[in-house]
């Protein structure tokens, strides 16, 4: 497991424009690729294009500068884990654990993302054009001015927003057909903070028992307008069309879910 590859594989980096560096990741292990990224970022490179990415994990981990990274191919699990600042754009799909415990930065995925998207994130933004897997937004939390935000264009699997302790989750369902609803169950199970906005109807049986349903107020709409505006900028679609549809707001019924559990 994780045998390091022989070190004689050379990093073939083709420097293009002066402010942008291209890296061919084809034969690089995750360790080599991340070492290369660290090296480039510390030398002051502002924009990096990674080509031929084939499932390398942890891309962008340990980067704390606002560098822009474009990924062509499929990055592996834990993309941007513990990340603090960079902006990553994936021109393809992302796998599991994207944005794990992320502190700050932005991840834009022009495709699908796997399970536990944004796990325990404390800040930053994640935009996904298509669908996401199970447990998206699990245990996200907010702190002072940090508010992790995840906006998903498609739909999600079960346990969406599980254990959520803060932040904003938006599920747009843009790829659902007429009359089709989200199929996720156990939405917001264990939720005790933050807010979930879902475009379209959601049935009560789909929700965790800790979740309440409310109409959106003016502030909610302002938040949504802003976020959907950013979403449409990233993915080149019309914000007004999206906002026309009815939204449902989900919120935690209790901030102290474990109040009456113990005998002293």
């Amino acid at each position: 497991m994780f045998k390091e590859r022989p070190s004689e594989i050379s990093v073939s980096s083709l420097t293009g424009e002066s402010d942008m560096t291209k890296v061919d990741a084809r034969a690089l292990s995750h360790r080599e690729l991340n070492a290369r990224l660290r090296e480039l970022v510390s030398s002051g490179v502002q924009r990096i294009e990674l080509h031929n990415v084939y499932g390398q994990r942890y891309i962008g981990t340990d980067l704390d500068k606002p560098v822009k990274i474009d990924i062509f191919g499929t990055p592996g699990n834990d993309l941007g884990a513990f990340m603090d600042g960079p902006g990553i754009t994936v021109h393809g799909n992302a796998q599991d654990g994207c944005g794990n415990t992320m502190d700050n930065g932005e991840i834009v995925i022009h495709g699908h993302a796997g399970d536990i998207l944004g796990l325990s994130a404390r800040g930053g933004k994640i935009f996904v054009k298509e669908d996401v897997g199970y447990r998206a937004g699990i245990h996200m939390k907010e702190y002072q001015d940090k508010k992790p935000t995840v906006i998903i264009g498609g739909t999600a699997q079960d346990f969406f927003g599980e254990y959520m302790a803060g932040g904003i989750l938006v599920l747009l369902g843009l790829n659902l057909k007429e009359g089709e609803g989200h199929t996720a169950n156990f939405i917001g199970t264990g939720m005790h903070g933050g807010v979930i906005y879902m475009r379209g109807e959601v049935q009560e049986f789909q929700l965790g028992k800790e979740v309440g349903v409310a109409e959106l107020n003016e502030n909610d709409y302002l938040t949504l307008e802003k976020l959907i505006g950013e979403f449409t900028c990233h993915f080149d679609c019309a914000a007004q069309e999206i906002l026309k549809c009815r939204f449902t707001k989900l919120f935690p019924l209790h901030l102290r879910p474990y109040g009456r559990l113990y005998a002293y």
Binding site: M1, F2, H30, R31, N34, R38, R57, Y58, T61, D62, D64, N77, D78, A81, F82, D84, D96, G97, N100, T101, D103, I116, L119, S120, R122, R135, I138, H139, K141, E142, Y143, K146, E162, Y163, A165, G166, G190, H192, G193, L255, R256, P257, Y258, R260, L261, Y262, A263, Y264
Partner: protein, 499 residues
């Protein structure tokens, strides 16, 4: 509802000695003592007494005695007073019984059934006062082989942490214990050349300067985990479980999430801080490997990454997986491991004794030829340097002490940690109480304890004719068992005394 719980303690006051100074009134956090101005008398509500002896120690005239109330229920081996009282508590509250510290049940303590060897006639003992003795311990992955070149070592070594003695302070999180306690631990660890452990409550900026002697924890709640936290640390430890509550999560109740605790954990004030039972990204050894390597990437492969589990039935197989997942240090926390709050039923019934877990894990890793790939650290019930020496001989690289360290700071193991009202100012976030631990004095008490244990360890080694702890490590021939069954001896890998 009238409680059927009888008082557990009797607080007796010798009126001829009492000078009405009200120290007991002010020191008690459980509202036992009160001063009646009209009668000029100090009274006691004994039903509130938890037996922590704070008042007894601080009474300037030794006027107070606190002793167990003789609970003269009709004798019954099956329905003991504790069992009756637990039922009473639950029938009055309808909740899970919560408690603090490690289990107080009479499970066998194998340390007390193992004895160490000494040199007599045929091999000389060493006098540690006159000859150098080596307790230095290096934690981290040791390579299968190294190559020497003309300019010295050619092979790049895995990151190692040097300890001056094989004793570290267990994870005690901020929020569970106070900043003063953590500062005491951090300063003592720095002075004595060992490590203290943040637990999963984040790291206060005031303690950043002790980073070289700090292990930071990454647990299921991921509280206070950020880039700087990982950068500052000497070791990063993934916490899967702990001996006092194997398999279950925990939470810091909102009442304890004060402004400062919220700031360090990076959560809003007054919310329950939930540490879910599993880590959401770990459902397998492969997933564990993913987090181990995520943390190695995040720290540029410069620090050992440890993984801590509670000692359970199949620890040996799990430990093998942990090593293969890339853990540089594996931590086993046994049945007697303590905590700031745990459901009593879990604390007292789940997990296995650390001695058996250690012996079986060490055996298993040796059999698989991977023992060198990770250091083994054990926790849960190490009480003195004799336990440490026996643990090293059984195969541990180092031990964690938690309860022993807290006792050095004043803890009398009254098991009220979960109430947040610790009269000794240790397990509380109440600023009125936390100042009862002075970091200057606390650090000195802890350093003294470690110094005393170091001297004793050297004496033990010298008596065996060994001048380096490394020669005792995993050397079970230096142990013999007393009062153990054949199966116990077989698991521990030691011979019966006399053989």
């Amino acid at each position: 509802m009238k409680t059927y719980l009888p008082p557990k303690f009797i607080a007796e006051r010798d009126d001829s000695r009492c000078i009405r100074c009200e120290v007991c009134v002010n020191q008690c956090t459980f509202d036992v003592h009160s001063y009646d101005t009209e009668d000029d008398e100090i009274r006691s509500r004994e039903e509130n007494c938890v037996g922590c002896h704070r008042c007894v120690v601080f009474c300037p005239t030794q006027a107070l005695t606190v002793r167990r109330s003789p609970l003269d229920y009709r004798e019954n081996y099956n329905w003991r007073p504790e069992i009756i009282e637990d039922i009473i508590k639950q029938s009055e509250t309808g909740g899970m019984l919560l408690t603090g510290m490690g289990t107080d049940k009479c499970y066998p303590i194998y340390w007390d059934h193992l004895v160490l060897n000494a040199s007599q006639v045929t091999n000389p003992s060493i006098d540690p006062l006159r000859e150098p003795m080596e307790l230095t311990t290096y934690l981290g992955r040791k390579l299968d082989r190294v190559e020497l070149g003309s300019a010295g070592l050619k092979t790049e070594l895995a990151p190692q942490v040097k300890l001056e003695l094989p004793v570290m302070f267990s994870a005690l999180s901020y929020g569970a214990v106070s900043l003063n306690v953590q500062e005491s631990l951090a300063r003592a660890a720095t002075e004595m050349g060992t490590l203290w452990n943040t637990g999963e409550g984040g790291l206060h900026p005031k303690l950043y300067r002790y980073g070289d002697n700090t292990t930071v924890q990454v647990a299921s709640g991921r509280f206070g985990v950020h880039a700087q936290y990982l950068d500052i640390a000497r070791v990063v430890e993934i916490k899967i479980g702990q001996g006092a509550k194997p398999g279950i999560g925990g939470h810091l109740p909102g009442e304890k999430v004060s402004v400062e605790v919220a700031r360090i954990r990076m959560i809003p004030r007054g919310t329950d801080a939930l540490s879910p039972a599993p880590q959401h990204d770990i459902y397998s050894i492969e997933d564990l490997a993913q987090l181990v390597y995520a943390l190695k990437e995040a720290t540029d492969y410069a620090k050992p990454v440890g993984v801590k589990i509670a000692a359970v039935h199949n620890s040996a197989a799990i430990a093998s997986g942990m090593v293969r997942a890339g853990a540089d240090i594996i931590v086993l926390d046994g049945l007697r491991g303590a905590t700031g709050a745990t459901p009593k039923i879990i604390r007292d019934n789940v997990g296995i004794p650390i001695e058996l877990a250690l012996a079986s894990v060490d055996d298993r890793l040796r059999q698989e030829g991977i023992r060198n790939q990770a250091s083994i650290v054990i926790a849960g019930g190490i009480r003195n340097s004799g336990d440490v020496a026996k643990a090293i001989a059984l195969g541990a690289d180092a031990v964690y002490i938690g309860t022993a360290a807290l006792v050095a700071l004043g803890c009398t193991i009254c098991q009220q940690c979960h109430t947040g009202k610790c009269a000794w100012g240790i397990c509380t976030s109440d600023l009125r109480l936390t100042k009862r631990v002075n970091p200057d004095i606390g650090a000195r008490r802890l350093s003294n304890l470690l110094r005393g244990w170091s001297l004793e360890l050297k004496d033990i080694l010298g008596g065996m004719g060994i001048n380096a702890l490394e020669s005792l490590r995993g050397n079970r021939l230096h142990l013999r068992g007393v009062g153990l069954t054949d199966t116990e001896l077989e698991i521990l890998g030691v011979r019966m005394a006399g053989r």
